[in-house]
Every structure is written in C-alpha cells, then in structure tokens.
Subunit: 81 residues, 2 copies
C-alpha cells in the first residue's frame, strides 16, 4: 500500500523557494509564469495487510508529527494504489 504526502506552504505564507524558481525561470526566458509554489512529497510504502482507515490515520499522524510543519505548511494525502 503506497501513500503520497504532499506538503505545501500555506497560501498566506511567503515562499522564498517559489520566488527563487520564478526568478530563475524568468532569467531563462520562460514567460507566462504568474506564480510558483514549491513543496515536497513523501512517498511511503506501507506493509501489506493494513486496513485503509487505520493506515490513513497513521499517515495523517506521521504528517502532523514529522513530515509537515503545521504552522506554515498544509499537507494532503493521496493513495497511489
């Protein structure tokens, strides 16, 4: 069972990495880019046989405790299988 945790800076938070990427794209003459936000993903392979609901709770707790900083970041969980 594979879960993907997507971590992004909250919309109201400045994103210096995104700014830097936007700047670099502009320097490389890529036009038409209005905004860039940079986040990270954590793909977790969980052992088989876990019940989906229990796994969802566990992954949510991993995200809150370790993978995301809830003060400045939001996370979402997707299931890859």
């Amino acid at each position: 069972m594979r879960a993907r945790v997507i971590v992004l800076p909250r919309p109201e938070i400045l994103d210096p990495q995104g700014r830097a990427v936007a700047h670099a794209l502009s320097a490389l003459h890529f036009g038409g880019v209005e905004d860039v936000r940079v986040g990270r993903i954590v793909d977790l392979t969980l052992q088989d046989g876990l019940e989906r609901g229990a796994a969802e709770l566990q992954v949510r707790k991993m995200a809150k405790d370790l993978l995301a900083n809830p003060i400045v970041e939001d996370f979402t969980i997707q299931w890859l299988d």
Copy 2:
C-alpha cells in the same frame, strides 16, 4: 492554468532524505513503513489563454532545464485544472 511538476529520485538512485525520514519515523515508533522516497513538487500558475499542448511543452522544458536533474531524478507533470 495550473501545472504540478513532481520530481522524484530515480528508482535505482539512493535517496538519503528518504532514509533519514524512514529512520526518524522508526525512532518515533511508527511501524509498518517499508520504504520512503522524498521528492519535491513545483506548482506553476501559468497565464490564462495558453493552449494546453503548448503549455505542456513549455512546462516539460522548464522541468528538464531547471526543475529536475535528469541524471538522478524523474519528473511527471499533472494539470490541476
């Protein structure tokens, strides 16, 4: 128009960040995690009116030239709208 570029270490490449997260999860007593891979996402807001095919080509070129390192990373593009 919003594109999401997902950048992940290629499967055959060691992922020290993923190892570190797996180790930290284990130290926090989260069990049942078999593998962890860490990547990044770049969400691009493009100006309206671009034709989807042209935008796809442009985003692919951005990913190859700047957002991913094709020697050690793979990327995929998703459209968020």
